[in-house]
């Protein structure tokens, strides 16, 4: 088991190194940030000075070595656009993204799983059609449209919810009193962006739950349970749902990562200060360190999650660790 874990850890590190190298190269293909930053009419000396400040005057291999060296020390560099360390800005924003992503995740589960179960249980009935329509709408209506409609109806017309930002509460790393309170304050700011973000993912949850349940409900062991006269409610809750949870949980985990890291459109529309907006700003302004930092942090989360899942698979199923 120890060897298996060490091998997975080694693969994870290689993946991260590859990701760092690719993102380092890719951002540099998008153009010269100095010229974009410099604005029209900026004199050459000024542009040269910016280039020096940003370390872009050095040969590419030196930039790369310095980038990897800084990464090993946990330093993502200085944002070109926001003029502060990327790590400082990222960790200021990350709790906001986590709050939005997790709330949207809960909404997508609460809406998607029961509706998917109902669709499967009452297959080819009115309920099933209703579930299918919701799934279709969830997947086909873009989040920005849902967001704008929510803003107009519940923000502007009815005035029930604020439309901008996350509210005054903040997660401050240096202030432990905010570590708990932050998650339970300003929910009225969270309601609309969380719904708009969760709505899209709930459509996918309806579909995956329905198809998973239908597959399980058609299996031999469910037929046997039914033949034994187990009440239908027990069949669903105890036997069917439990066994159809694996694909649902896999999708939910990936959805959560996506919602936390790249909720760009929803964050822009609701002016939610999350890491998605950071990535968007970084890409728009060719802010190399910011793009590198956000992408690497997202990659790190995915790699760590996969590593944990791999380790757990190896723990619960000896065949996996022995075969690798």
């Amino acid at each position: 088991m120890k060897r298996y874990i060490l091998t997975r850890a080694f693969y994870s590190l290689i993946t991260l190194w590859l990701l760092a190298t690719i993102v380092f190269g890719m951002v540099r293909l998008t153009g010269d940030p100095v010229k974009m930053r410099g604005e029209v009419g900026a004199d050459a000396a000024y542009l040269d000075q910016i280039r020096r400040n940003w370390g872009l005057d050095k040969p590419l291999h030196e930039q790369y070595i310095s980038f990897i060296g800084n990464l090993l020390r946990g330093d993502f560099g200085h944002s070109f656009e926001k003029s502060l360390p990327v790590g400082t800005i990222y960790f200021e924003r990350f709790p906001n993204s986590l709050k939005l992503g997790f709330s949207a995740f809960v909404i997508s589960i609460v809406l998607g799983v029961p509706l998917g179960m109902l669709s499967a249980f009452k297959v080819n009935t009115w309920w099933d059609n209703f579930g299918k329509v919701i799934a279709l709408l969830g997947l086909s209506i873009p989040g920005f449209f849902v967001g704008l409609v929510l803003i107009i109806i519940f923000g502007v017309e009815l005035g029930w919810f604020p439309v901008l930002g996350k509210g005054p509460s903040a997660f401050v790393w240096g202030d432990p009193s905010t570590w708990v309170t932050f998650w339970f304050q300003d929910w009225h700011y969270l309601a609309m962006p969380a719904f708009a973000l969760g709505w899209y993912f709930s459509g996918a949850m309806v579909r995956i739950t329905r198809s998973g349940m239908l597959e399980v409900l058609g299996s031999d062991y469910i037929k046997l349970v039914r033949l034994k006269g187990v009440p239908e409610r027990m069949v669903m809750a105890k036997h069917a749902l439990k066994n159809s949870m694996i694909p649902i949980l896999t999708l939910a985990g990936l959805n959560l990562l996506v919602m936390v890291n790249v909720a760009v459109v929803i964050e822009v529309i609701f002016n939610w200060p999350g890491v998605g907006q950071l990535l968007y700003d970084g890409l728009s302004n060719r802010d190399f360190p910011m793009v590198q930092g956000v992408v690497l942090m997202s990659g790190l989360m995915i790699v760590v999650l996969n590593f944990v899942i791999d380790a757990l698979y190896g723990y619960v199923d000896p065949r996996i660790r022995l075969s690798r």
């Binding site: 974009m36 003029s83 822009v268 728009s284």
Partner: protein
């Protein structure tokens, strides 16, 4: 008896003190003949009110903490939004004039432009109570790294501190543009930074928590998202009227409008566009046209013989093909003004494009077709790209439709903002071929600066290289005679327009919208946009909002 004597002395002191102060202010610093400077006096309010309520502003892009540091000033006018909040300049544009005394109460430049002197107001302080002296002015100059830093460094011979309030800059050679560049409108070098604090907290520390001598103190920021400022009641000119100013970075147009409608925002910029009709019909909102600069067209590579735009009649046909009035209605709900110059009429030395000095461009498709036929294009011609300023793609399509109507056929090139800037900043090298039209706008103040960037051979964003203009420009650069310089700069403008090197379209409104909390009521709110060349409504200390 003694009480009466004391009150007599006190009244004498009160009577004569301002007179003495005025005399001190009027006392000449530099010997010899001086240039006559047109610098307006500051309006100082003696009665100090109590700041109240909060103003929430939506900037139309993510906020950069770098804007809080004048030492690294960028070319964009956006940084001045923050300069005017936290910092204060020696001289800066104010509603009463482009050059208005601020920290300085007196400025002098010798007639040979080799020395410039300033005297600070008495008793100036930074927000932490530390005195602002000529040592801070010197330190700011010496440590400035922003736009035009090299020019300032190369021209400087030495800085002489006469006393705590008086400073003299000695230049190696005549520095005719000094005041124009030192003025708060153009660079950050005249916005004074506290030496003691900057040295203590460093570059990053200053951006994270800046300190200045302006009307507002920095309170907090979330990088890119929000900045909060609080009134500094000891500001020398007056107490700010509004207690708290919150600036939010909100990219999305519709979100800014929603924020205004829900009352979460009191002021939003960049509202020209598709949602403008909704702004105009909302009874709770008021707007100011906030004219910035005119739109104009340029022809990269026009001076190469194989370019279709090489011949003047073709460029003239482009101008005649454009239905500017229609564009103004579609793009700005009729607010824009058709003008015949590519430079903002707010520049005192810009030729007026309203028919008095330069003609208002006409729309005459038939004449355009005739000119094309005369130029050898009876059936029109195809060109490669029409490149509009980002994100004005609808406007680009409309211009293209007008051009197609006379036979000038091209495709729209849709770029993103940084890519457009990166191309234009490279000048001729930014565009391959010579069959492209570029649509641009640049609200920078100063005619000289604009010509130096866009209309001179080899300049950073120039597609123009004409012997006639070069001759005029060289004479202008060599001259220290203000009248001659003015005449030369106007001659260049006339050539650019009459030869159709540039084709102006209309003077663009960069509409700003205010919510119901902002005082005064009604259209009088437009007084906040009285400062010329200001795309944003500074100074901030005069803004009033309801509680």
């Amino acid at each position: 008896m003694s009480k009466g004597l004391l009150s007599l002395i006190a009244s004498l002191v009160l009577t004569f003190a301002p007179v003495c102060a005025q005399e001190a202010a009027a006392q000449q610093i530099l010997p010899g003949p001086l240039v006559k400077l047109d610098i307006k006096d500051a309006q100082v309010m003696t009665a100090r009110g109590k700041p109240k309520a909060a103003l929430t502003i939506a900037q139309h892009f993510a906020l950069d903490p770098g804007w809080l540091d004048p030492l690294e000033h960028i070319t964009a006018l956006t940084q001045q939004h923050y300069d005017y909040l936290i910092h204060d300049a020696m001289i800066k544009p104010m509603p009463q004039g482009v050059y208005t005394y601020s920290l300085a109460e007196r400025a002098e430049i010798t007639a040979d432009f080799t020395r410039a002197a300033f005297r600070l107001r008495p008793g100036l302080r930074f927000h932490d109570g530390h005195l602002l002296t000529s040592a801070d002015v010197k330190w700011t100059y010496e440590n400035y790294k922003g736009v035009h830093a090299k020019t300032f460094r190369d021209k400087l011979q030495r800085i002489e501190i006469v006393d705590d309030r008086t400073i003299i800059f000695h230049f190696k050679a005549p520095f005719v543009e000094f005041l124009e560049l030192y003025n708060g409108a153009t660079t950050g070098i005249g916005w004074i930074v506290p030496k003691h604090y900057y040295e203590k907290v460093g570059r990053d520390g200053f951006k994270a928590r800046p300190l200045g001598a302006g009307p507002y103190k920095f309170v907090s920021q979330e990088a890119g998202v929000q900045m909060v400022f609080e009134a500094w009641e000891q500001y020398w000119r007056r107490s700010p009227a509004t207690k708290t100013i919150v600036v939010k970075g909100i990219r999305d147009h519709a979100t800014r409008l929603a924020g205004l409608q829900t009352g979460e925002l009191d002021l939003a910029y960049g509202m020209t566009g598709k949602l403008l009709p909704r702004v105009m019909t909302d009874r709770n909102l008021r707007w100011d046209p906030n004219f910035t600069g005119p739109w104009w067209l340029m022809f990269p590579g026009y001076n190469e013989p194989d370019s279709p735009f090489h011949k003047k009649p073709v460029r003239q046909a482009v101008s005649l093909a454009i239905n500017r009035q229609f564009l103004v209605r579609q793009e700005t709900q009729g607010i824009g003004i058709v003008v015949g110059n590519w430079l903002s009429p707010e520049n005192s030395d810009a030729l007026k494009g309203d028919g008095t000095e330069l003609p208002v461009p006409e729309h005459n498709p038939e004449k355009a077709k005739q000119l094309l036929a005369q130029a050898g294009f009876p059936n029109g011609f195809d060109f490669d790209w029409y490149v509009p300023f980002v994100p004005y793609f609808d406007m680009g399509e409309r211009v293209l439709t007008d051009l197609r109507a006379v036979g000038i056929r091209g495709k729209l090139q849709v770029l993103e903002g940084p890519a457009f800037r990166a191309m234009i900043i490279r000048g001729r090298k930014g565009y391959t071929g010579n069959r492209t039209i570029v649509q641009n706008i640049d609200p920078r103040p100063g005619v000289r600066g604009s010509i130096g960037v866009y209309a001179v051979c080899g300049a950073s964003a120039s597609f123009v290289c004409e012997r006639e203009i070069e001759t005029l420009w060289s004479k202008h650069q060599e001259s220290v005679n203000p009248d001659e310089r003015d005449r030369l700069i106007k001659a260049i403008q006339r050539t650019l327009i009459e030869e159709y090197y540039f084709v102006p379209i209309y003077w663009n409104p960069f509409v700003a919208v205010v919510g119901p909390k902002v005082l005064p009521e009604g259209k009088a709110v437009s007084r906040y946009w009285d400062t010329v060349h200001a795309p944003y409504p500074w100074p901030w200390e005069v803004w009033e909002v309801k509680e």
